[in-house]
Amino acid sequence: MKVKGAIIAAAAVMAVSTAANAATLDDVKAKGFVQCGVSTGLAGFAFTDANGVWDGFDVTFCRATAAAIFGDANAIKFTPTTGKTRFTALASGEVDILYRNTTWTLSRDVDLGFTFTGVNYYDGQGFMVRKSLGVKSAKELDGATVCIQTGTTTELNLADFFRANGMSYEPVPIETNAEAQQKYLSNACDVYTTDASGLAATRATFEKPGEHTLLPEIISKEPLGPLVRQGDDQWADISAWVLNALIIAEEKGVTKANVAKLAADGSADPEVNRLLGKEGSYGDMLGLPADWAVHAIAAGGNYGEIFERNVGESTAIGLARGLNQLWSKGGILYAPPFR
């Protein structure tokens, strides 16, 4: 029996891996996979199937990042994180990159010591209520009981919104989405508030989604994006440009289906050639293989394809592109030029 304590200590020593800070890319290459922090479970964005395989919108971006580095979308491991553990997981080097509906805010960017490398989903905080309540606007919610998921910017926005409108409310803080949902369904709260995408995703899992409605007010800006530890510019650049490459791919019509062909045959569009590593040495600059973007796109398609497959209007989640449409099509999705 005595050996057990010893073994744990020893196992700890064995399990030690260097990860944090400088040269994340080297560490990642050395261990052979990317460790990606995701949500513990949010329909459409990050969830496991019955076999424990991760899938979803955020997860696909993680996989694209792994594919850009290793050429293999499965060279990745996922760490489910809660609102509480996500930042520590990243700060301690437990994960290399965090793709978990995390809102880009000044204090997180500056004070917590992280770098946001882009926005993969423009969101805003909304409210969901029962249709039977007859509420048409969030301004009518005076005195309501509101379920909130803690550990997010949600509770801060909510406090601001109700204070600004001179209304009172009864906050019910909940740790996870599943519990909040349970509480809302048992009518222990009138309103459930979180990011509008999360609300839509949650509503989609209800037995009778038609009995619930999202109120028109969006009370905050929630740019959700990937973040990495501050101080490793190379790694931050990789994460930023994988995301940008997927957006540019949509812009230029490079899809999962035609990316291999375009990469082999080249294209008339020089930007596509640069993107797919036919021209220039952009991969070298990032410390990646020349065809990194080809693998990234092949992993799950371009931005539009990822969106449609996981959360788009054809899925149960049924989100419209809205703000997340390309800038050329009325949205605000705008990647810097690839040159």
């Binding site: 029996m1 057990k4 073994i7 800070n21 491991k77 489910p80 553990t85 989405n177 519990e179 899992t205």
Partner: protein, 428 residues
Amino acid sequence: MSDSRKPFVASGDIPPSPPPSSVVGPIAWVRANLFSSISNTVMTLFGVFIIYSLLAAVIPWLFIDSVWNATSLSDCRSIDNGACLAVIKERYLQFIYGFYPEEERWRPILSFFLMIVAVAPILFAGVPRRVLYLSGLYPAIAYWLIWGGTIWGPVGVVLGLVLAVVAYRLITTTLPAVVGLIGGGLVLVLWWLFGVEIFDGALTSVVDIGLPVVESSKIGGFLLSLIIGVSGIAGSFPLGIALALGRRSNLLFIKALSTCFIEFIRGVPLITLLFVASTLLNYFLPPGTSFDVVLRVVIMVTLFASAYMAEVIRGGLAALPKGQYEAADALGLDYWKSMRLIILPQALKISIPGIVNTFIGLFKDTVLVSVIGLLDPVGILNPIRADQNWNGIVWELYGFISIFFFIFCFGMSRYSQYLERKLQTGHG
């Protein structure tokens, strides 16, 4: 004096007549135990009412109207209005193993049975002593079986202990035991820090024996509870002994240190220690080090349990008659020898029921890891309830978890009561 005038003389005993029905038999029992007074009658009726209403609610729900075959909650509800046990039927494997790969599940099962064999010599008398070697090796075996990977890592770790013992023996031939302990400890730490890696690497490149690696994030359910509980209690055993001895030591500094540690750990809730495991532990390690969250939790739980274990063992030490200590001194044994040969074997024997109780408490506490996002039986509820098919299901899941814990903990507590009785008669 003819025969006819002979007085009556009984030829034998009159057979005893049965006692009146008001004194024995079921009716008398009912009268004495249920309706002996007005207040008793009222209480009995109240009790009957409670039992009736509980059974009337539970039995139809659980047995008569329950649904075993359905694919979703709404499906269940459309079949019957009782318990939707289909969710248990579909997910019970997740409750047991978490997301442990299906084709590898023989490994935890094998570890479980090996564990029973390994603890047998400690818990039951009459098991061959030789099995103790297996108990000693078990942690390494179980680690290798459950997490997989190359076999040389665990072998290296065990080898470290062998080296430490050899070093201790060599040193103590010339120097006193304290130096031996320090030397042995030093060898152990150095070997584990540097030797194991080299040993592992070298042998793996020569003969690569291993099992497929299973990551911690896939381990969940009752398996996780058992891993945390068992390794916590096993790890806390040596630590607890050291702390208990430290607290009873007459070396001031060591006593103060042990007391502070014990009181600190016992003074804070386990959940704050788990927060430390999930958020702070990495701050205390050299920059760039990070390791698995399950291991971090096991470390914190071990520290937590060791404080409680120390108090249990201290109780055992205090319960020994003073004559035992004095006799050991009188024989001229030094501190370590008297502890090892006389005091600890007796003190630990008396402490076993307390240790079992600590284990029960710890095992129940393992569900707290769900708060930091691990997939223990309570944590596994989240993915199940997030599933479109099952959201809105409550009682069936809580009931299943409760029954499991009840069976396990009740069994253990009965065992510890049995031990207590056995030990008591041993003394008397």
